[in-house]
Assembly symmetry: C2
Homo-oligomer: 558 residues x 2
């Protein structure tokens, strides 16, 4: 646009009422007023601005911020949709104690348009819940519980449906059956994005051959890519971190791929826990005291927190001027502050760790050997559980080095959170920062400033937690809490030290060979050059070469 | 916890009813059932899971996910609080055509507890709006408008208040006055996080010496740090990207710092625009057609989109089976798809760019010279506006190189979005990715694989847009849309090429000198060594040295 045109556009606006006072009479539009010589400026007032204030529904917010949910490119949109559906299926199966059988299918509908169909043998979803689970953001069963699970926000699958609806106008389709005695339910749903509420387009009972399970179909605009960041690679990593899953995948126009179940054991059950007092702050405590069913403060601490016995509860209350029998609802903010201070002074055991279900060193090693065959060295470390903001978490690191892995590339980093592979935003991830902050040189591995180590190495880092702090709703990277980075570094250092010993053993031998090779390669040329310059005889040349070689060999050994 | 203890905890749970069938009779608790020999497992069913389903309020969501808003560490929390308040003040002043006078104060209240006070001379906020603006997430005036502004989400300042409330239990305090004829209003507010609604703790009229303005005070747990990532450094960068701002800062127990106004011109006004048709998708179009006041399709396209004239509107409708006079509300999804296809085939001019207000090459250069004095070379590039997903945006790059800047460190990257400095999450930012993806070697600058260029260089990258796509609600990094990365790379390449010419000029001279120095340094030693080995005379030695020097000089020049 040329400056002349621009000016004329602004002039047009400037024909409205000229002063703020007059504007009051016609409050529909903020009146412009010339403040600069050249361009008339639209001047807002507190009143005109107040009229612009509006509530933003969470679905409007995420429609505009779809990249926060992992829908910023057509390739990612397709993968995210599958990821959300698979996460839900696996969580549901495990919660119901069912060994998961999953099928994932992608059908090409038209150019850049696909239908994603994910089906499981899970417990199914009761009819009344289906619309909200698939047609409302921020609705779910996992947010309010402290328990290790893949989903936690109540956003993922409905966001995938919303993305499909936005790009194609098509509703989400769901079929679900909860047991043999009941028929399967079929739904077509869209989200009313202005209200963040589901709208049922169709609903009926349908035939279903299995006794229980759920099937979700979403049509969306997307791009299908193969390779390292493709759907198949993602599902392969999922199968590796979840050896108890049987998964069949059919890409558009491709042969089906079957990832067979490698273990018939479900992962150790992750139990639900209460919050740990060390993670509580004044505001949170005030809210908990308002909502509790406990009538006495002492009972409140014992029943609403993990690891608080009668002694700890008494010690928390002591010296605050409150009594063990005080009603929690009556505690004012100033007293709550004193309680929090006392909590931090009271010795309370670490939270129980049976809420966590790590992969385990043995399975991690097995996965590595399967995923990266032919490496020269494998290593796996599972750290003991730790705590950030009162939330238990546990770090695992796996490592494959050398052998068949190519030599002078940057290290490959594979990231997992609660057994879910993380595919994007590596640079923003705590795992990445922990790898960067580890001193790899001291283990005999090269590393440029600000880069991953340069080594024939694949690193796997897994965080298991009752609440993984992701850097965005798309759950692509883990936020950098100090406690988490610290544990990751400890795990990396532990595996690094072991790797260092392996490398140094080999390094000494290779160094010897390499230096010898250099001397053998270059000395004869120097001999020939000197022979020409000085006109040496062959015997003289040989003597020079031998003497130089000898000198250099000796200096090399020093 | 020892395995033995763990087992006993689980056993306790296992005393409930044993099968899924019986559980129906007592539906309050999911019944556990032994699936593995050793550990009894809690088995959920569709029914027990349905009872866990709950709605999650957006304030609950962000309480648990506070790192998404920039409150993951006490240091960041303090800075984010100031950032949100300052952003709001600057937006309000500019919208009202007022040259901003800001004061920012941080008071130490107790150990790790501060009070942040930000005051502006803006238009003030009308009484009725104060509670929702400061006490409700997802409420604001900027989300629904396509217009360049610092704030856009309606989350920031209320999130800062919520964080204060969570960590200290204290309400947010607001004073605001809209003009001389009305008294100032004072509020104390907290958020009911379960409902995401403001609760007014106190409200009264107060004395206020200025005619208009707003003052917000938030008490919070935080850590105060000086230096590169400190508050003062942040405000200094803010002043640099906003030369029209006068800002006084007083840190805890520090002398006040005054950033004087460098320019009395407000930035070029950024006008509000309509969405561009190229950014519209089927779902969005359907919603717009449902909400429009236009009664005819042709008028709808002309009035609801930017750059659509009668000809383009007709061409969009043609061949879909719809008429120019069809009511937009009657268009079904299948027809909307055809309309979107036609939009993509129709030639429509790029969106107007008077919605953008870049810093400009001259001001950018001036800022660089002020911020990084003593560099050997300065460069600034403002790209022409471009579009992603229908949203206009514009990239600017500034560069300072050599001279007083230290030599072998990684390049310093300064990032800005709509004139706001971005301090965290560099690795996740499109600016960072664009810098990494630029081939700096071809401009004579070293770069390790996967790292920023190693050079005495500071890069500034600014994106101005009606809607900056941030990677999280904390607005710390720009999402990597292809169109944005592309424009950033073009800007970086343009400045890189110019820098390359500057470097090569200097490089040739330095290379000459360096090589000559090497030859002068080493050849005499080789001469002496050869003299000893071969028993050469001094004359012979001189001849060898001369010949070698000559040969090397010649090869150097090739």
């Amino acid at each position: 646009m040329t400056p002349a045109k621009k000016k004329s556009v602004r002039k047009k606006k400037a024909t409205a009422k000229p002063t703020a006072k007059r504007k009051k009479a016609a409050p529909k539009k903020a009146a412009p007023k010339a403040t600069r010589k050249s361009a008339p400026r639209t001047i807002a007032t507190a009143d005109s601005m107040a009229r612009q204030q509006r509530e933003i529904s969470v679905s409007e917010f995420f429609t505009k911020n779809r990249h926060l949910l992992g829908f910023d490119s057509p390739t990612k949109a397709l993968l995210t949709t599958i990821k959300e559906a698979v996460d839900n299926s696996l969580d549901a199966c495990e919660e119901a104690g069912i060994l998961p059988d999953l099928t994932v299918e992608i059908k090409l509908i038209a150019e850049n348009r696909y239908k994603v169909i994910v089906q499981d043998n899970g417990p199914g979803i009761v009819r009344e819940q289906i619309p909200r689970i698939f047609g409302k953001l921020l609705y779910g069963s996992k947010f309010h519980r402290l328990r290790q699970s893949r989903g936690q926000q109540g956003i993922g699958i409905s966001a995938a449906g919303m993305y499909g609806q936005l790009t194609t106008g098509k509703p989400v389709e769901i079929e679900s059956r909860i047991n043999k005695r009941k028929p399967a339910q079929y739904f077509q749903l869209v989200i009313d994005t202005l209200k963040n509420e589901p709208v049922i387009k169709r609903e009926r009972e349908v035939e279903w051959d299995a006794a229980h399970g759920t099937r979700v179909s979403i049509e969306l605009e997307g791009t299908y890519k193969r390779g390292k960041h493709g759907v198949e690679a993602y599902l392969r990593q999922t199968a590796l971190a979840n050896p108890h899953v049987d998964l069949t995948y059919q890409g558009p126009g491709e042969e089906p791929v079957h990832f067979e179940r490698a273990s018939k054991d479900l992962p150790e059950e992750a139990l639900e826990i209460k919050p740990h007092p060390y993670g509580v702050e004044v505001g949170m405590l005030l809210r908990m005291m308002k909502e509790t069913k406990s009538r006495q403060l002492k009972g409140f601490f014992q029943s609403e927190f993990s690891r608080v016995g009668p002694k700890a509860a008494t010690s928390i209350i002591e010296g605050t001027g409150l009594q063990n029998t005080t009603s929690p609802r009556r505690v004012v903010p100033e007293k709550a502050e004193l309680l929090v201070k006392n909590i931090r002074k009271t010795r309370i055991p670490a939270p129980p760790t049976d809420c966590l279900s790590p992969i385990g060193e043995e399975r991690l090693l097995a996965s590595l050997r399967q995923q990266i065959p032919g490496a020269g060295y494998y290593e796996a470390v599972t750290r003991p559980p730790s705590v950030y903001r009162g939330n238990p978490f546990q770090i695992e690191v796996g490592l494959a080095y050398g052998g068949g892995i190519a030599g002078d590339e940057l290290t490959t980093l594979m990231r997992f959170a609660n057994r879910v592979p993380l595919q994007y935003q590596q640079g923003a991830c705590a795992t990445f920062k922990a790898v960067m902050a580890t001193n790899w040189r001291s283990y005999g591995i090269q590393q440029s400033r600000g880069a991953l180590p340069t080594a024939p190495m694949t690193l796997m880092v897994h965080i298991a937690s009752v609440w993984v702090p992701f850097t965005s709703e798309s759950k692509e990277a883990v936020a950098s809490y100090d406690e988490i980075i610290k544990e990751m570094k400890l795990a990396l250092q532990e595996s690094g030290r072991k790797l260092g010993r392996y490398i140094r053993r080999g390094q000494r031998e290779r160094d010897e060979a390499k230096k010898r090779a250099y001397i053998e390669k270059y000395i004869p040329h120097i001999g020939i050059a000197l022979q020409e310059i000085l006109g040496l005889s062959e015997a003289q040349e040989k003597k020079v070469v031998d003497t130089l070689t000898d000198t250099l060999e000796r200096s090399r050994k020093m």
